[in-house]
Amino acid sequence: MADLRTNLAGITSPNPFWLASAPPTNSGYQVQRAFEAGWGGAVWKTLGEPIINTSARFAAISFQGKKVAGFNNIELITDRPLDVNLKEIYETKKRFPHHAIIASLMVEPKQEKWHEIVKRVEDVGVDGLELNFGCPHGMAERGMGAASGQQPDLVQAQTTWAKEVAKTPVIVKLTPNITDITVTARAAVNGGADAISMINTINSLMGVDLDSWQTVPSVAGKGAHGGYCGPAVKPIALNMVAECARHPAIAVPISGIGGVGTWQDAVEFMLMGATGVQVCTAAMHHGFSIVEDMIDGLNNYLEEKGLASVSELIGKSVANYSEWGNLDLNYRTVASINTDVCIHCNKCHIACEDTSHQCIERKIALDGTPFLHVREEDCVGCNLCSIVCPEPGAIDMITLPYEQPPMTWNERQTVLATYKGK
């Protein structure tokens, strides 16, 4: 068994799988069930002045038979009194002393408010704090969550206020509803954050009912934008984690969140710089027991890779991620169709002919058999044919030998600048 223990800015956990601050971590009953199932940590549903929720809170997008490809919620932070939550946190920590319990916090952007809640929460023995600067709906209308998380000065100030009294590590949870997340990440670091987590949910409207013309979900005929999460957001989250991980001024650990539902997702986030991951939608879809497969899968993967500890994954792919200008323009890959596997659906031909570079021809062999042929000289290696191909193994993208030495756009422009006309 590989060592799955993680240490995020001093917060230790038996494995890298935490439940994110969300409906699954609303109560001690739920968090204890989660720990019994195998989760390594839980970020308690955000504490603050208890709110009042609407009825009808969630919606999801199914895509071609896959349920919950994307998930949306308009639920707010906890609706339970702080004392009730604190009592349950205390009891849960007492029962599971080696699991990580992090309190997610959200209060008005005032120094005294942050001081008060940090002190009260730390008194019951949490392992860390996560400042919720990310929720895009409801609370943002009240100046909290994403509303303050979109302003770097407020991110920095509130982080500083929390750190002024905090005795445990402070994680700052960032909103993706911003052009460049590294700006707010740097603000968090400047404010003294011990770690950052991302992403919170993305502004979304899930749909409009074609019969009633009401938005989805509908609350007595009205809707409001919600927070989007689930598998569909993973690429967005992964990029934001990677952008922060490779930024030299953001040298704090990262907790990765956004569409994590399998051990493979977790490995990807960790390779791109996350120390561990937080999960919500997958648990809401399939229940807490999914963590068993996540733990087994991760352990098997580490053993296959010959790695003794999960920490050896952290950031190993960050150096492979750069700006477009550093990509090699002379690298060439082209499509190769395996005619013995191809089912002649012609999807690749149609996709290429209509929307790419018209390099896949439909041909007829001498014996009358139809086949598809890639004109390599015209193939730009866009991958589209292999993406739309429904038959595994029918199309390979193969790398061609170099005709010219590697050259990036940045190298090209640097040299061409010396050849500029007067």
Partner: protein, 72 residues
């Protein structure tokens, strides 16, 4: 061979022909039309030749030669 590939081959052949005759690239101006590449030769006639290089592959080709000549 398709038209777009042939365009590249045509432009590459023109570049190679000038280089083969001893011309060197002395100036490159990029514009909306592609790249205007000025070749020079101290003793040949004419002293300068100008090529408008339109295809992406040919623009990549001549710039690869320049980058490689600088870095090798």
């Amino acid at each position: 061979m398709t038209a777009s590939w042939q365009l590249y081959v045509n432009e590459k052949e023109k570049i190679d022909a000038l280089l083969h005759r001893g011309y060197v690239i002395c100036e490159v101006t990029e514009s909306l039309e592609g790249a205007t590449v000025i070749f020079s030769h101290p003793t040949a006639t004419p002293i300068q030749e100008v090529l408008t290089v339109e295809t992406a592959d040919a623009r990549k080709y001549f710039s690869s030669l320049l980058v490689h000549s600088v870095t090798k």
